[in-house]
Symmetry: D2
Subunit: 326 residues, 4 copies
């Protein structure tokens, strides 16, 4: 492996009403770096990079791609070689094709997700200490993607053995060798990406990190007062798995956003993955609350490299109980 | 009116396993003032008074009485006159009869609840600044009682016009002159007692005030880690009505405890009650979460002055929808 | 005593640059109810009353009056009788004379402070649950006045015995019967007014209550980022006396504002005042930090009923050490 | 460079009263992994590694070594080669020599500091979700070392160019090419080590990360109540540089501990160091508070590889003003 995937970088989401989306993400504290009639580029408070969320006006709500930042331009070429060797569909997006970002490599990966790699992104002002301009959830930075896939074992193997991810925590099933769900990272936190056994491939949510638990509580009040009560889907609560103090929101198109605070350092090479049994009640919700059905059943549709909807299939592992995915 | 009811004072709860109850309330941060084989007397962090929670070993989980502190010994005699005039059953508990507390007057009030009045309570050390001894929810003080009664109008009238309470907030029903629920106070916060239309009379919960929202979040983690995950019934969340940031717990006997932070000053004589429509979704849960069925259906059984179970009856107002009481 | 002083109500401050003051108090989260070329009327988040802070364009920074809300219009007449009997200078301000407020009684009280009493104030919208409009310190409500006076004993006696205040905490001097400082209340918190032994009469600060400790921390970041670093005079810290988690600010004219969270219930008639020795290091700053000299030496000038500057005199008790007033 | 320094790992401090130190660090929430008559091994809440703080009974308060975790055992041999090539004094500590830790390499580095590298450390239980056992500051993990050295340029060059550290922030002097202070990291936060222009080499402080700002505030209350008021040296406050919400403590031997929350992600290879001018008032204390003299003048004495006190010398750059180091 001659490449170095660094971290979760950005997402490109198709939305059907740009103004409705602008108002929603603005209420969460995102900072608008640039926009035109068909696009908004948002960054979070810590970011010196141009954007971590690209909203694009589309016919249907969908995920165009989720992107990882790599360590150099050369990494992109190495990744290209890898994916071509593995017969995956790939597509270069040359510098200048997309606003604020350099050359990118897009791939239909092993689970059928459209993912993208890039090194270069335009630098802009870091707003971290402009505290008087922070608002809503004061979103600090993008943290992870959570993907619903029908075959977690397959995704796990590829990301671990081919792409160099490490596993921080996973859900096992008593009496089975299959993995129900896995949290994988490159940066030394709990995850850059998680895979869960479910109808897929679909994007379950994008996770953003907050600077403290009170920002999450304040965000609930802010959103409810600003007319977004119906956008609050689940939480606040604590996940046993990942130790996240979480809140799940649905944007105006139904894309799911996780705001969270918690995490811990996982960078030691002798860090051992934490194993959770699927039936452990503390795994999903440490405080014992049930999640609503929508959280288990709904997720964002993906587009392939040609912009067509990616078909989904049933999960490999049978649904054992309603609380199946975190 | 020649008496002066000051505030919610204490509750006397019958519990069936004293050690289980001790462990639970200790985990919430209550301080044990005294105890013997059949009783535990707990106070909260702010208290210089002997106790605000008296747990008594009993055959069944039940509420012996809920008590209000008055402004003087003379108030007790004036209250006695009032209740006798109104043909209510009354009973004096002379000083020395109960540990830590002076002479009390017990009454079966207009809704059939057994309530008690007292002025004198033994003084003990205030633990407010012994921060190193605080733990769990760091419960600061008792705040209010919430009562399920079949006829809220009747309770409202008596407490307002005979006992001198004021109304801070209430729930009305479109097209009706009846009150669905009312929050009444003597001290200048949202309430010392609330009445809600439901099967009753029963005690729905006892509310305790926390010093900040993080104590409530920390309490969830503490309780879940200490083995009390199943004790967390509802929350954390925000009530529209009362503005409380709340958490509802069930003690080992099922008695319901509300921990909350929020409240606001209501002491101005021109303070106008806030009216909420029963159908306003923000009333119950400002952030839009549903409460579990148990929260609507279950409440603590009361004992009368002779120690017999108080019979309950169906509420006067028809149940309009599941989310009927806050 | 046939009157009922209810609580700290409002302050009327003379400021020399209305725009500079507007920007400062707006940054703290005050809500502007009304204004013209020479006045701004601010209320806090909880307030249904027109204002708690009236800024008036003046030649010099000064305090025109500090005001207490009473229980009825009749109270004003009773207070008038009291002060006239005691040969104090008094002045009626008829309804219509001042914006948003009814008839008021102004008095040069026993320490030479100009204080005011009122019952009626115009009602406006309570912004408590418009969370999306809160900002900066999210100031919830006015809480207390802190007055530097040369003779604390005299002020203490008058407020306790003539005006019906109660003492929650006080600072004594070993081997002396004099009181160094006293915290007095009508509403059941630590104070509506405090008196401290110092050059006076002057207004040391106006205290405003915040809803939680994080609002205070967030306020420091907000103010510093918004260009108000030099306005932060002292804190954040914890007072032993009063248990307040505090922050002291200086407005553009040097008027001192305390933002704080903490407080506790003092409404029981058998509540005993907490005595602190002047030499107890935990009294002033529970965490052990020194206050800057400005905090001890500087305070706002008062105006008398005729608008003239009130002369000050040296304190009765000798200055024993730099940390003389809290 | 064939080695991989991963992160700040542990410190070995000599203390003169083991029981006094045990009580102090226990109050901060450290967890005792092991101890005997002359040693205590503490870990923090997140740690699965045996310890991050080794206290050793000594004749004088001193620092025996500060240690970095590396990526493999082979890294240690490569580092040995590097330091020997550069004529630095080195010393192997074989596995079994020290409790809980494998083979280590100790070195007198370019500034004369005794530092240590290790890969292996015994695994123990991670207490992260045993929330009911957390207390005091609830210290989550070790974060960084801050070193006072006479020649920051020299340290900077060696750590950047020889050891592979990256610079996140630094303090420059107008009109000079010298660096006044530098924050260097291997893990993707603000720092694993900082160097400041001062009398040295000495250890200024060890930084520990807290999970949220309220843990820091609660810690102040806890420490003051538990009798450690005099241990609080500076803060709480916000550093402009590093964005840390900080509290500085002195342990019973005067070793300085920083508790902090804040930090941000610095792992992108195109992350540009933030430059602060020495005269920028926001650099040291974003909120504008002065630090006490002790914070500038006092630091811990170091021991060399033979256990002798390391002599100190005056800084290369003239002291320009009292507020010279952050």
């Amino acid at each position: 492996m001659d490449f170095n995937v660094m971290r979760t970088g950005r997402a490109v989401l198709h939305v059907t009403d740009l103004e409705a989306s602008r108002a929603f993400y603005d209420a969460l504290g995102f900072i608008e770096t640039a926009s035109d009639d068909e696009n908004i580029y948002f960054r979070a408070i810590e970011d010196f990079a141009h954007h971590c969320l690209h909203l694009k006006l589309g016919d249907i709500p969908a995920v165009e791609t989720i992107s990882y930042k790599v360590g150099s331009e050369e990494c992109l070429d190495e990744l290209h070689t890898l994916f071509v060797d593995h017969d995956r569909n790939v597509k270069w997006m040359e510098k200048g094709t997309q606003v604020g970002i350099g050359r990118t490599l897009r791939v239909e990966e092993v689970s059928g997700m459209t993912i993208e790699f890039y090194f270069e992104m335009e630098h802009v002002e870091r707003m971290m200490q402009k505290f008087h301009l922070h608002k809503g959830a004061k979103v600090q930075r993008i943290d992870h993607f959570n993907c619903a896939v029908p075959d977690v074992d397959k995704a796990y193997d590829y990301y671990i053995h081919e792409l160099g991810f490490k596993c921080s925590e996973f859900t096992s099933i008593k009496g089975s060798e299959h993995i129900w769900a896995a949290w994988l990272h490159r940066k030394p936190g709990v995850h850059d990406v998680a895979f869960m056994n479910a109808v897929g491939p679909r994007l379950h949510h994008i996770g953003f990190w907050l600077k403290d638990p009170m920002s999450l509580i304040d965000c609930c009040d802010y959103l409810a007062a600003a007319g977004y009560r119906d956008s609050i889907e689940r939480g606040p609560g604590r996940h046993g798995l990942s130790n996240a103090f979480f809140l799940y929101l649905r944007d105006p198109d139904g894309h799911r956003i996780e705001l969270y605070n918690g995490d811990y350092y996982t960078g030691d090479f002798d860090n051992q993955p934490i194993e959770w049994d699927l039936d452990d009640p503390a795994r999903q919700t440490f405080w014992g609350h049930e999640a609503p059905d929508s959280w288990f059943n709904e997720a964002s549709t993906l587009l392939d490299l040609n912009g067509n909807v990616v078909p989904v299939s049933e999960p490999k592992l049978a649904k054992i109980k309603p609380n199946t995915i975190i």
